[in-house]
């Protein structure tokens, strides 16, 4: 009797483990939630890309749902996603940029060339804010709600499909 039970349990256990492993095999190992999800946007003090005398801090992100896009002139995917960011701005979404590990000159040239969907750009030449945001490769985009809390994180390039299938629904959800 117990041997028969064992003969039944062993393949069953094997099957469960195999199904679990197979399911994880379909999973993209680089896809994971930001550690800052549902946390307040990190505190920072910086100047803006355009104006080195204008000082801004995290209070900038309170009061309205905002998309924060981390970009740099050196980042090819940032150039490719610019049309999508301009489209999002056309939808009336407030866009704030983080000019990450860049120089003022290069950043300004980038905006002149590829368009400027941003209300303001936080100038982050040393990548301090990027570090506190857990950014490990631009572009990355964060959705911050009106209370200044991070609600959605998009790692990497935003494709035209991402705009309609991911970003716009998330914005609608938190507005």
């Amino acid at each position: 009797m117990s041997r028969r039970l064992l003969l039944l349990l062993l393949p069953l256990g094997f099957l469960i483990v195999a199904m679990f492993l197979y399911q994880r095999l379909q999973h993209d190992p680089s896809a994971r939630d930001s550690a800052l999800m549902a946390r307040p946007f990190p505190a920072f003090e910086a100047t803006t890309l355009r104006d080195e005398n204008r000082r801004i801090d995290q209070g900038l992100l309170e009061g309205e749902v905002t998309l924060v896009n981390v970009w740099g002139e050196w980042c090819p995917a940032c150039k490719q996603e610019m049309p999508q960011l301009l489209e999002l701005a056309d939808h009336g979404i407030r866009m704030v940029g983080v000019n990450y590990r860049d120089t003022r000159e290069k950043g300004m040239r980038f905006l002149g060339e590829y368009g400027d969907p941003f209300e303001v750009n936080i100038f982050d030449p040393e990548g301090d804010l990027g570090f506190d945001l857990g950014v490990y490769g631009a572009p990355e985009t964060f959705l911050v709600d009106a209370g200044g809390v991070i609600r959605y994180h998009h790692k990497g390039y935003i494709s035209p499909e991402d705009v309609t299938q991911r970003i716009l629904p998330e914005v609608a959800k938190w507005r």
Partner: protein, 164 residues
């Protein structure tokens, strides 16, 4: 050392050593992993252990101490700064996990979410041990049963009948 000298047998070991050192130095430079000076060997050891225990968030499976990605360099720099400020290992690890997530830890922390992960090997070990124990006891019981007088007589008869 002239390279042609390497073809003489007597020079070969020295050439190999020189070559190995050259490759090491070149990879250290090309890899872009900076060498840091510590006055305190304990701090140097902690720096080494910390950067070996954290996974680079960008490069799938490389410790930040081995990786030449920009984010790993930033993280090493932060570990170095925090060590110089006299922060504890757990403070530094917490600082990193708060930004980059549990993903960066090669050894996940023990918390409610990871009880199963840490407990399963121990649990399976106990279950295996119990199975072995039960099997051994069952076998011992079976062999302890002596033959009855009737069975012994039949056994003897069978052995006698064997052609010799």
């Amino acid at each position: 050392m002239a390279l042609t000298g390497c073809f003489k047998a007597a020079w070969l070991p020295r050439c190999l050593v020189a070559l190995a050192l050259g490759v090491l130095a070149a990879s250290a430079l090309a890899g872009g992993i900076e060498l840091r000076e510590f006055d305190d060997p304990v701090l140097a050891q902690r720096y080494h252990d910390l950067t070996a225990s954290m996974r680079c968030p960008l490069c799938e499976n490389q410790a930040i101490g081995d990786s030449d990605s920009p984010i790993s360099a930033d993280m090493r720099e932060r570990v170095y700064q925090m060590l110089q400020e006299g922060r504890s290992d757990s403070e530094i690890i917490h600082h990193m996990v708060a930004r980059f997530g549990d993903y960066i830890l090669y050894n996940p922390r023990l918390e409610r979410r990871t009880y199963l992960l840490w407990g399963l090997p121990i649990g399976l070990g106990i279950v295996g041990f119990m199975i072995v124990l039960l099997v051994v006891r069952a076998r011992r019981k079976a062999s302890a049963k002596a033959l009855s007088a009737d069975e012994r007589a039949r056994l003897d008869a069978l052995i006698d009948r064997r052609p010799s």
